[in-house]
Assembly symmetry: none
Homo-oligomer: 197 residues x 4
């Protein structure tokens, strides 16, 4: 069975990449605010100043993290969908399998973007921009698959269905985190199945 797990990465080429990799792990596992610059540089074995020669601030690092994670996560999921499906409908359902598998990996801490969103009240924060972009792309991905599935439906109808699936996806994401049980994603997937008939 295909198991969702972060692909192991090659040894990072640069100090910057190494910092990014360390920060990615810590930001995800502990959250943005709970992770201090000190911890990052300690784990990287570099000096304070070096850190700031690579990133102008902790926030800038977090932006880089979200940008990178956007790419990684998308690749990760799209590869999973390709592995599983089949038809657009199969792929849409596979997105929820992806979620279920991910949640069952030991370190599941929810969605990095949602977690960062709730930690960031300021609407004009650059972090919020990354988060919105990521989620818009996810919605667009879903919409693409819905459009391929329902080739005869109106644009509006397709948008509506895509949004519904998206909301189900996001709701699953957060409730898996809350309850650490699989029923939220299973309920969501069943509903999507019905939607795609």
């Amino acid at each position: 069975m295909f198991v969702v797990s972060m692909p192991t990465v090659d040894p990072p080429k640069s100090k910057r990449d190494e910092l990014l990799e360390i920060a990615s792990r810590l930001f995800y596992e502990q959250g943005y605010h709970r992770t201090g610059v000190k911890q990052i540089i300690d784990e990287a074995g570099i000096a304070k100043g070096t850190f700031y020669s690579h990133f102008k601030s902790k926030e800038a690092l977090a932006v880089a993290w979200l940008k990178a994670r956007h790419h990684t996560w998308n690749t990760w999921m799209i590869d999973f969908l390709a592995e599983k499906g089949g038809s657009p409908a199969d792929r849409l359902l596979a997105a929820f399998d992806f979620l279920e598998n991910w949640m069952q990996s030991c370190n599941y801490r929810g969605c990095a973007f949602v977690n960062t969103l709730t930690e960031t009240p300021e609407e004009d924060s650059p972090l919020r921009t990354e988060i919105e972009n990521h989620k818009r792309d996810l919605l667009a991905l879903i919409r693409g698959l819905v459009a391929a599935h329902f080739s005869n439906e109106s644009e509006d109808e397709i948008t509506q269905i895509a949004r519904t699936i998206y909301v189900l996806f996001e709701g699953s994401l957060i409730e898996l985190q809350n309850f650490r049980e699989v029923w939220p994603v299973q309920a969501a997937r069943e509903q999507v199945k019905r939607l795609l008939k």
Copy 2:
């Protein structure tokens, strides 16, 4: 039109209540970790020691906050449903109207419980217990209305539908926070409408 907004409260009877009120506002607006004890006591105009004679720790205060908010929020929503609906189905739909109204109130920062969840990786935190309790109660509320609507369906079917609606509710909650646009809740409500037919 009925507008969702926190009912104004009477002048607090005790310093403890005042602290709780101030903390509630700050925790909600800024998040748990971004709000310092210093800020709370400054706004309350009291000394550090006084704070700790009322609450044994910042975390204990946050637990008290979530417990109180659980009650306030439930009352708030249940009153809204009573105002609007009618039938159990109407009430279920009204829950999403509630969400839409709430989101349009100027200070919407999402769900206090979800926000605190993502700030709290430790699964054994007392905060997590409050969060889970709150969400379980919300799910139970929804399930009660679904059961009243579908009196002929099996228990399993009712559970399944309730869970779906719950996931749609939670997904709306978070996406309203992300996009500050109403479409997520509208898509969710439309889906619920279909589910209840």
Copy 3:
């Protein structure tokens, strides 16, 4: 074999006595500065104000503690000497047996008076007065036994021997605390044995 241990005390008659008893235990086990008034009143189950109606300050409580301990400890040791000895010389040696037994009781934390001395740099502190009194009395006790043993020696000679034994006693006290081994007191006792020949 006779074992040194604090005699169990009757249930305290007054709140004051109870406070004193609790504080005695905590001051001895944790030291004077490490023991807070809060901990004392918590263990006593009384309010802050009540504490200060019984003792005008934490220092006053400590003075009361040392005064009481002076009496308790003296009784404790003198009873032990009476049990053991015999001749004045036997009693002097028994003082070191007393030390050895005491040290082997699980909670040995050294001499309360010496510990408080080292925690109290201010020479004019009321605590220092109690400490000095206690030690002067101990020296006097030893001198009395030495005088009884060496009835033909000059006053000066007796004083000199008493002081030597006293210094050996004090040195044992502190080194038992440091090494948690019995050799310091055994070496001291052997020396006293020779001195008394």
Copy 4:
């Protein structure tokens, strides 16, 4: 006459050394617990953060203090013995002269190691390790001189005598601190004189 006093030190090379020097003085004069990090940094004229870039904790600073003092104090005493004596026996007696001189220096506050011992009930504290090491070395120093003096005695006998002298030394140390009078060390020295005959 040779007077015992801390040799004046060159202007410290580094901030770290300066901090250590200031802390050494304060820890000795006021005790470990009564000396706050705040006071240390105020006297050093540096910021809080700077302190913690040099020492990871107050306890780590205290360990550094005891390590340095171990070295300083040993040098101090050994130099004194070299200055005075002569034969091993002379040196052993000179150790008590050292004590007497030291005590008469205005700031005598007893032995830093003994003082810290009584402030530190936790047997597994890193401070306790330093204290034990220091005292073991002192005992070894005494034993070396005793062995040189009594070249014909058995190892056991030498150990026994060394321990006795050590206990006399420690007893003097603490009683000089208690009474601020010279008789304890004089009594001890007389006894040592007899022991070495």
